[in-house]
Subunit: 307 residues, 2 copies
């Protein structure tokens, strides 16, 4: 169950209607690793951080089975920083500040020891950088999953289209699916996007759950109705970590098993939003995860006998 995770490891500063965080550890690859390492080990991490990134955070990841050989540490530089503010509906957010720092000149290098990994999770990042990781793999992984965002559709669409041709699964949210496809209906959007390369498409809808498309089929996963969504930062990455973690653990990339992976991802994301940053992900046990997955089973389970 060899898994490579690529993405940012960074600092975030977050405002929500419930409060404001200090500068806390974040980044797509951080969340993905915390989430995926519940299911698959080792997680072969590829990222870049500055000298300001806490050594104890790196140690905590290593203790969970995250291999950091592919994480470049630039002692004299600063880590990527993002500050944002969420509104009441938690589905929209404003970026208050972005400092690229080490990400500005990031050239990922796949260590030899990562070669042969069967699963590749490309967290949200510059599309050409995501593509360079695929191109460095001597054997194509069994499954390549890519996460991206509207920003790249607006600034690097050509590169995004190129990397999409080489991936198996795309994870995006509903507004991004509409933007990428120029279709309002998500069913039509999915059809257009699957023509661009990915055989599978997951559309994340936050509190409204997620949709998994494959060929002419569709699966609907619920979100757990929560009393409070405290901080949605990293929820999409945590979803991605649960999704790829389940697939890497089971080594089964059938549509049926991808449905389950979407549920596992949704369950992991439901933890992430309960506290600021990755606090909750650090607390939860295997038992917590099992119980949450059982809640998802109960959430959608019904009996019907046709007349």
């Amino acid at each position: 169950m060899s898994l490579i995770v690529v993405g940012s490891m960074a600092f975030d500063q977050i405002e929500t209607p419930f409060g404001k965080s200090d500068r806390i550890v974040g980044g797509a690859a951080t969340y993905i690793a915390w989430s995926a390492s519940n299911f698959a080990k080792p997680v072969n991490q590829i990222s870049v951080v500055g000298g300001d990134f806490p050594k104890e955070e790196l140690q905590a990841l290593q203790d969970r089975g995250v291999v950091l050989e592919g994480v470049q540490i630039k002692e004299d530089e600063k880590s990527f920083f993002w500050a944002g503010k969420y509104h009441m509906d938690m589905n929209s957010r404003d970026t208050l500040d972005t400092q690229l720092n080490v990400l500005a000149n990031f050239v990922p290098v796949v260590p030899d020891s990562y070669q042969g990994s069967e699963f590749l999770m490309l967290g949200n990042l510059v599309p050409s950088i995501q593509h360079s990781v695929i191109n460095q793999m001597k054997t194509r992984p069994k499954l390549i999953v890519l996460d991206t965002m509207n920003f790249w559709m607006e600034t690097a669409m050509e590169d995004l289209e190129k990397v999409l041709k080489d991936v198996d699964v795309l994870l995006i949210n509903d507004s991004e699916a509409r933007e990428l496809s120029a279709q309002y209906s998500l069913v039509k959007a999915a059809r257009e996007i699957m023509k661009m390369g990915p055989k599978y498409l997951v559309i994340k809808k936050g509190e409204h759950g997620a949709l998994l498309f494959y060929d002419d089929e569709v699966f609907v996963a619920p979100a757990l109705p929560l009393e409070d969504v405290f901080d949605p930062t990293g929820a999409g990455d945590t979803f991605a970590g649960g999704f790829i973690g389940h697939l890497a653990r089971t080594k089964d990339i059938s549509f049926e098993n991808m449905k389950t992976a979407v549920i596992v991802g949704s369950a992991m994301a439901s933890f992430c939003v309960e506290k600021f940053g990755n606090t909750r992900l650090k607390e939860i046990s295997k038992e917590d995860i099992d119980n949450r997955i059982r809640q998802f089973v109960n959430l959608v389970n019904f009996d019907i006998q046709l007349i």
Copy 2:
């Protein structure tokens, strides 16, 4: 399986991004009756129409097992009329015109032959009129379901609070749940609303499905991802018709069976939006309905084995 349905029978004129209808037959009780009569007969209808309401529409309902003894026909007056316009997201709409006509002085009368009905579906209407129907029942029905809308929260909140004390199930949409409870979180909203009277609460979320709350439990029903939502008018009423129709057919008002009723309601609503007005509801067969319900089973079905 005796069922009473109360609500408007009316004319609508609808604009959507896909087209504009003529003056077509609509009204909450019309949609509910078309939907419920697939499952439970007779449907004992209570409403009021003007002399302009097409006799062939009344006949078509009678042919389906809808009893019209409780439908007042005011030959010299005009039926209720509503004109509205939907935007691209189909979840928001503007009212362009409302002509109360016969509804202005509607005093519903429960015919003797309807007494003893076990299921009562109160479609969206003035809360005091909904209440008067409950008060006319000599024996309290086994289950009373009420649909309402934000308009009554803003203009007749006191009457709405009174009738809510006397019902078992409330059906509203997400923005109405937030308005009624003054809570943003739907979990918190549900808890507040269930304190107002209803033991069960269904929150309809349009293309995002529906939530069923009872005590500390919650069930999530998907919506069928559709290529086009042609006209959402009546979808909520059609949902209500499928919901109460299933319960009246099975005579089982357990939480478990209400989950199934929410799925049946969702399946019926998914037909309604495929064409203007109630056109699609008039076309569909038992086989179409069974197939659609099977689609809902497949939509959410997944297997999971905990590690």
